[in-house]
Subunit: 383 residues, 3 copies
Amino acid sequence: MGSVPDFVVDIASTRPGTPGGGFMRRFWMAVHRSEDLAPGHAKPIRILGEDYTLYRGESGRAQVFDYRCPHRGAQLHLGWVEGDAIRCLYHGWKFDCSGQCVEQPAEDVGFARKVKARSWPTREHMGLVFAYFGEGEPPPWPPYPEPPQAGLIHCWNVETVPCNWLQCYENTADEVHVAFVHRPGGSHARLSADLPVITAEETDWGMLRYGTRKDGQVRHTLHYMPNVTRVIVPPLAGFDGVGGWQEIYFNFTPIDDASHLWLITSHVKITGAEAERFLAKKQEFLAKVKAAPKVMDLVHEVWAGRRRLIDIEHPELAMVQDIAVQAGQGVLADRTSERLGRSDAGIILWRKILAREMQALAEGRPAKPWRTPPADVLPVIGV
Amino acid sequence: MGSVPDFVVDIASTRPGTPGGGFMRRFWMAVHRSEDLAPGHAKPIRILGEDYTLYRGESGRAQVFDYRCPHRGAQLHLGWVEGDAIRCLYHGWKFDCSGQCVEQPAEDVGFARKVKARSWPTREHMGLVFAYFGEGEPPPWPPYPEPPQAGLIHCWNVETVPCNWLQCYENTADEVHVAFVHRPGGSHARLSADLPVITAEETDWGMLRYGTRKDGQVRHTLHYMPNVTRVIVPPLAGFDGVGGWQEIYFNFTPIDDASHLWLITSHVKITGAEAERFLAKKQEFLAKVKAAPKVMDLVHEVWAGRRRLIDIEHPELAMVQDIAVQAGQGVLADRTSERLGRSDAGIILWRKILAREMQALAEGRPAKPWRTPPADVLPVIGV
Amino acid sequence: MGSVPDFVVDIASTRPGTPGGGFMRRFWMAVHRSEDLAPGHAKPIRILGEDYTLYRGESGRAQVFDYRCPHRGAQLHLGWVEGDAIRCLYHGWKFDCSGQCVEQPAEDVGFARKVKARSWPTREHMGLVFAYFGEGEPPPWPPYPEPPQAGLIHCWNVETVPCNWLQCYENTADEVHVAFVHRPGGSHARLSADLPVITAEETDWGMLRYGTRKDGQVRHTLHYMPNVTRVIVPPLAGFDGVGGWQEIYFNFTPIDDASHLWLITSHVKITGAEAERFLAKKQEFLAKVKAAPKVMDLVHEVWAGRRRLIDIEHPELAMVQDIAVQAGQGVLADRTSERLGRSDAGIILWRKILAREMQALAEGRPAKPWRTPPADVLPVIGV
């Protein structure tokens, strides 16, 4: 199969000034797990190659803000959250959450109103904080629908992955890898019995991808523009079937061109006592994760050849496997020397869409008006 | 206040070949704490972007010397100090402290006298080793006066700060920061009751800076050209008032453009039994510091957002706060996008002086003939 | 002595595209210690600035292979060794040891035969895995002769040295350093009584170097082109004389221009019960090494000036000393500002040969046809 797309634009870079940087800034970006940001706390974040301050006001409101104080460049996250405002530690300049400077203790009255920091639209959805970094009005809210069924929505620990976001995004369009990367067992074992034939089609909200098995069963996976995948996965290893098959929303948010956040929201279709049992299992699982070696430490052992990937046991084994392989493609994978095949149909179509859109933006032509994904197109495991 | 200086020259860089590199090399530079250099020991040092060997001869004489042996480039600090000479470990070439090669065990007689290493004028003052890296004769000695009163002169542990020296130097001209950066308590708490109005004037030895309080009290702080600040500070936290108010001499010596040594000499105006009590308190304090987390480890925790600066307790809390804020401005702060105010008057004047002098040097015009600071101009805490 | 060679070419770099890169690729390169590669295991290696996969098939055959899978760039060492073939973890593509793709589970039949990875000639000799990275047929095998006498051939732990290979190679042509770098005692102490006069001559397989002592004794050391030194050394410290004087073959294999592998093969001229006693001593020695600080940790302490080289005790003290001095010359030593003397005669000749050969290659002229070193030219300790 010779249909390697010609890359007229670099589709992997998203830092300011790149075509991908312009494209990604047209969408809401997931920047943090909500539960990891306590009221009154401020943190530094780096998204799409730029630094910001993220804080949660005492009212509970999350805000994305300039990284540095306009006065003398101190990092604002070192300061104090006061109400929904933030005060710089260096000289006490205070900014409301619109960015307006409202106090300068050692300066003349009147200077403050001339000083404004920048803040960005910030909202929360399904356990994640989102921000909009583009020009003008942000796209409709929320960026994607909640599942229609009742159930438990929760987020897993956020992982920082040391490679470009697109490698890991492409992996979610690559259903075949499951049978090999996760072969030694684990949560995907039941899917590996036969290999799917992959096909995909563009939609007005992204890409709908099909994995057809020998028995005719077809798995539908949703790829929401530009960096979200929604997929059904089998029960988790170690959960004894509690929670059953669930939906996962993957967000891959570029930190910069060389690393990204891997944010995983899960929808478990259970409520009441069954949901309590699931949460208890999750606590047990998190305790095991805490006691285990860090994922990236294992990945580095594997990369250095000191341990074999196929010898490792770990509560987050699938994550060790995924990151070892995908970040192992290189900090920024070389897409020019690949030999793509028919099983790469999802990756090929996704790249073509990205390249077309980024090229249009780079040339000043109108890009496709992407719709918010509809609530009634759902991922399925077999139809 | 719009008086941002126009930077016609880069005033922060001091590596060889920069205007600042030429300017700084016209002065004695503090390069090490005297007590950290034992007789017969040699060490590598990096100053103003260049590597040197520092050793103390068996007579007690300190010497700054070429970093590498002229023969085949071995690091001289690996070798042996013999008397006041140094011998290279690699092939036993021996150099006297003027730099002359005096022995080459495996070579023909007569070769040694053709080989000369470089050495630089080196002297000691108030607990610090100074060297002169410029052309021609060094400036008068000592570089600044001792305090007139009897008392105890001692130096604190030397800290390596991971940012350009000028950020931390400017902070010493910024009296307002004390009320905010060190707000949670600590040694400066009594100064924070009201904010000073800052003014400053150029002198023939540097800059005299005034901090005027609401009650009319004026604090005088001395800024000795090019990298020394002499200031009065209140009793140290944890010292139960022993030692009382004291004078501090700060030396900020560039290691390279991205890091510097922070050397602190203290003059406590006590003698006899009271001085013994102070030294006992200091030993207790140093034991606490040794048992505590490293300053830079905490700073990195704070920078990463894993801990809040305002939650940290540490025997050297003020140092954690200062370095977090100042090195947090960036390895080399961006001075082009600041919004300076009237409280930055000391910083603004200092930059103007540096820029004027460096510009003159860059254009081959005569620089100002800086005088050694006089012994009778003293810092005061209130007049 | 003013005979510093003029370097018309860079003789230290060996990465692809450099004259040295072309020159070194005309020879077999030692890439790994045989005993460190178990059957069925794959590892990443980096040699001459390029990454490869090294694996040992289940038959015992070692193979050097492409680092990345041609499909989508996954690291092949993450995968499975099956027989003497290797299978990629990402999508199960399988390659035989010639590089031919023989299976692609999710692709159409017929695609596999169009895909070929690269593999390089690989063989083993005296405890080391060698590979040939050049064009055309590799040179005759083996790259150098075994010692004629019966005895025990074994390899020491492989050390990764953080500097260019040529510095450490040159050190083996520098017999004088022993008296100084290893002065405090250790295995070479008996050689240090008087300093040798060094002379050297080019041969058709490399360089024969002489160290003439005051008593007329002449030590012969063999320098095999391009990166092997064969030398006789005295009994090891801590071995109580067991094993006696022995032959050492040093291989210095560039990892890249900034680091190299130091591979040491030893021939101890003993057999039977005496060899058993030696191996028992070696086990004791390795246990001591395992319990001791890591060599490079000590070297970094010394480089930072926190410890003096001359104060260190360690079972591998000679290695600490050698690496501290040689890698201390810089990641890539500056050869333009040296002051070479008569004792550097071996280094000077070796550089002249390398420069001449690399220059010839760079200009497209024929290089010298180096012969495999003959079995009857032996290193001697005194004739």
